[in-house]
């Protein structure tokens, strides 16, 4: 009788230790699996270059609705097409002559920025500007990350979604 009681305690002790170890190993969060690894879309940079060129060709033709469809899916949800059109109408006033890719930097396989040189014609004068254009890759492909903290402040002031915020 005593022996049985002894083993019962030991069993619980062992189980508790195992549970503690398992919970210790599981501290932190579940590891993220990048959509790029599971994706069947075009290879990273080639696909990005293609999308980049298409986006800027649309800008040159002032096809704003088609540009909107190439914005990151969350951007398409949080800003209205009407406001985007208004903003782009103003932005695409200048005649876009050429866009040259200078460098592509990827801080993650799914998030890359394209440093480019944009040549426009303003009142008969050639104006050259350099800008950084960022792109995100989800399962269905690359999307432009539209950011403008003045006209669309919500895109710059995104809430913290990480572990710290969730607690």
């Amino acid at each position: 009788m005593r022996k049985i009681q002894c083993c019962g305690y030991r069993k619980w002790f062992v189980m508790g230790t195992v549970l503690l170890l398992v919970s210790g190993l599981g501290a932190g969060c579940a590891h993220f699996q990048s959509p790029v690894e599971n994706s069947k879309v075009l290879d990273g940079r080639e696909g990005l270059k293609k999308e980049f060129k298409q986006y800027w060709s649309l800008a040159a033709r002032k096809e704003v609705d088609k540009m909107f469809a190439r914005e990151a899916p969350y951007v398409q949800e949080v800003i209205s097409k009407k406001r985007y059109r208004l903003y782009m109408k103003f932005m695409t006033k200048a005649e876009l002559r050429r866009v040259d890719i200078l460098k592509i930097t990827c801080e993650q396989p799914f998030l890359c920025c394209v440093d480019c040189r944009i040549t426009t014609m303003v009142e008969g004068r050639e104006v050259v500007k350099e800008l950084r254009d960022c792109w995100v890759r989800v399962k269905s492909g690359w999307f432009h990350v539209f950011k403008n903290q003045i006209f669309f402040p919500m895109l710059g002031k995104a809430p913290v979604v990480g572990k710290a915020a969730i607690g």
Partner: protein, 193 residues
């Protein structure tokens, strides 16, 4: 003229005066005439200053929390918007048990809320909207202990969805307001500015 006739005429004048005074002061005047009309439209659509006041009173708590009082113009537009949504809710037969339990302007607000909720529930949030947001803001999801990026779990998904829905709701109500103004030919007569 004899004295009796004069007396009769005098009493008749008093009675008529009493009747006129009663009509002017005692009889209820329709709300639409008593209040300043701030907006009107087809199918008897009418918003009065009393509606604006009721709207302001019901939002007093929220206004207090925010610490910012909306402008008079925003109050008028807000009331017109609520009455429009409530009108459409009644017309389209929106299911709204909350409205059955409320009265007065609280009922109008309940109907407007039900209308927006009913319309929004048929709208879906694309999974890629949540995912793309998460990926763009990946730095916020790095575990400080391991330095690795956390998985997009249910809690995080919910948090992002809530943020997106906040803006989606605003876009929807703005669009719907514009559509209904057109549908009812609404003319805002007093902009409150």
């Amino acid at each position: 003229m004899d004295v009796d006739k004069v007396k009769i005429l005098k009493s008749a004048a008093v009675v008529i005066a009493i009747i006129i005074v009663s009509i002017v002061t005692v009889l209820p005047v329709p709300a639409s005439q008593k209040d300043t009309v701030v907006a009107r439209g087809d199918d008897g659509f009418l918003v009065t200053m009393a509606d604006v006041k009721a709207m302001r009173n019901s939002a007093e708590e929220v206004i207090g929390e925010m610490g910012v009082r909306p402008s008079r113009k925003a109050q008028v537009t807000g009331a017109v918007r609520v009455v429009l949504f409530a009108t459409e809710a009644l017309k389209t037969g929106t299911n709204c048990p909350l409205a059955d339990q409320s009265e007065g302007f609280a009922r109008t607000i309940a109907l407007a809320r039900c209308y927006v909720v009913e319309k929004l529930t048929v709208t879906e949030l694309r999974e890629e909207a949540i995912e793309s947001y998460y990926l763009v803001n990946w730095r916020h999801s790095v575990d400080k202990e391991t330095g690795e990026m956390c998985e997009l779990d249910a809690k995080m998904r919910q948090r992002i969805a809530k943020w997106i829905w906040g803006y989606k709701r605003k876009i929807f109500t703005d669009q719907e307001y514009s559509n209904l103004c057109e549908k009812y030919n609404v003319v805002v007569t007093v902009n409150g500015s």
